[in-house]
């Protein structure tokens, strides 16, 4: 089974976000970066599928040269090959991103064989467009489902589960297919020392794609206004219980 996983380099969750002076990007100078959380799980899922069904995992990203760090991380947790679509690090809209990924995927399939499965994260942690995987699927004429938190391959079919409030929905997609997964589908493993060494040495196949014209142009980023604290302290320790239950009564919860 040949699987492609597409990931994005984003500032680590929990990091304090500071904007650049021109407000067109997040100031990256002092930030740790990571693979976007849903996509970290996509990598893990691809590696587990490979371990169950044999095959290989190719990890791909579109981003600045520094995104090699995220590709090598994916290799250190089990991906076999790394592919970088190198940009100047500026913001690519979903249409431009999907067009470049679809074109590179076609090239990779011509040279190395078709992908049975292409995995994406449901949405990136930063821009959250929710659409790159779906656009790539349409460009490649393949079925696609997103929001997936359970995945199995049964013969030529992907059995995919999506959580609803009260349980889950099941989808059956014929392979080859595209699936966008969510955090919680698995708990990603940590790299081992030998796998880190292997990842250091892996060759990253790098190309520089043309940026297609997209129709969503970012002007600037802004931070929401800080709201002044107006917390009502109901008390300290167990002695606060009557005041808390008074609040429950006021809100009509009892």
């Amino acid at each position: 089974m040949r699987i492609l996983v597409c990931v994005k380099r984003v500032p680590a969750p929990g990091a304090r976000i500071v904007l650049t002076d021109d407000q067109r990007a997040v100031d990256a100078r002092h930030l740790p970066f990571t693979v976007s959380p849903h996509e970290e799980c996509a990598v893990e899922e691809a590696v587990r599928l490979k371990e169950r069904n044999e095959g290989s995992v190719v990890v791909l990203t579109l981003g600045p040269g520094e995104a090699e760090e995220q590709l090598r991380y994916a290799v250190s947790v089990g991906a076999d090959e790394a592919v970088l679509l190198s940009t100047d690090g500026s913001d690519w809209d979903p249409q431009a991103t999907a067009a470049a990924i679809a074109q590179r995927t076609t090239e990779l399939e011509e040279s190395g064989g078709g992908f049975d499965l292409i995995l994406f994260g449901n949405e990136s942690a930063d821009s959250a467009g929710y659409q790159v995987g779906i656009r790539v699927a349409h460009a490649l004429s393949r079925p696609v489902i997103s929001g997936i938190k359970g995945l199995d391959i049964e013969g030529g079919t992907v059995v995919a589960r999506r959580e609803t409030g009260a349980g889950f929905e099941v989808y059956h997609l014929p392979l080859p297919a595209v699936v966008a997964v969510k955090e919680g589908i698995n708990l990603p493993r940590y790299p081992t020392l030998p796998s880190r060494l292997r990842a250091k040495k892996v060759e990253v196949a790098t190309t520089r794609p043309e940026q297609a014209m997209g129709g969503l142009q970012m002007l600037r980023l802004t931070t929401p206004p800080e709201v002044a604290s107006s917390t009502t302290i109901l008390g300290q320790g167990a002695g606060a219980a009557p005041a808390v239950v008074d609040l429950f009564e006021k809100l009509g919860l009892l």
Partner: protein, 312 residues
Amino acid sequence: MSEVLVFVEHESGVPLETSQQALTLAAMLGEVCVVTVGGCQVGGVARRLSIDHPLLSDYAPEAIGEALTQLIRSESPTALLAAGTERGNEVMSHVGALLAFPVATNVTEVRPSGESWELTRIRWGGSLFEEAVLTAPVKLATVAPHSFAAAPAAEAVDAEPFIPELPDTLGRTRVVERVTISQGITLTTAPVVVSGGRGVGSPEGFEILEELAGLLGGAVGCSRVVTNNGWRPHSDQVGQTGTRVAPNLYVACGISGAIQHWVGMMASKNVLAINNDPEAPMVTKADYAVIGDLHSVLGAIVAEVKRRKTPS
């Protein structure tokens, strides 16, 4: 006046709150035409179209995307909106891919400017805003939940049927089975969410949260560190990569309040933080706070609730 189509999601004919919020934005932008799959009690709009096709007997994102694309070609609206829900974002992405038009997800504001829209959309789950220009013959956008008040309920409008031509192959991404795990109160519908973070300390530490949630008819939630530690299932996780909740009361127990958690519960009407750190972001942002050890505070609250519930 130009027509704005709104894809309205509903449950057994009752429109979702998030779809009603999308209608509020739509009414600012043009004459509203609601589009539904199946019957839906929605009113206060100029027109309603009901997409009717055997393939759409259950949720089928590719087929709905194709049907909406055909509807756009036949009606030539200025825009198609949907709620920024899992399904809304998914269906709209299909429409964008089929038409090769851009899609702006989770917008909070739209300022029409000539042939384009200037808009604001959320990034980082709501901790940053992006101002952008959307240029397309038909504007496709989803509306960030809880950014607009819901359109008031009104007498339902009769629907005109719309019959799309859908190839059978699009049934390949239709729901084939539904499995119900929990019945009754869920995180998204609970009036109270009692949520725990690192400070709860262990899986067993959640028992007192379960007890309080049970007494209040609520549900238990948790932060990302809790699911990463394997203390609770991921389905309980509230936050940017988990579930978004908007209960009447959110009780945050031992949760420091990182922005990724905050964006998952900031739509709550009231927030009560219980934390031993008075400087924790969750405490300073909450409406109400109790400073102290969460286990002793929760134990006392549970005892007090039981005392008041017992008829004297």
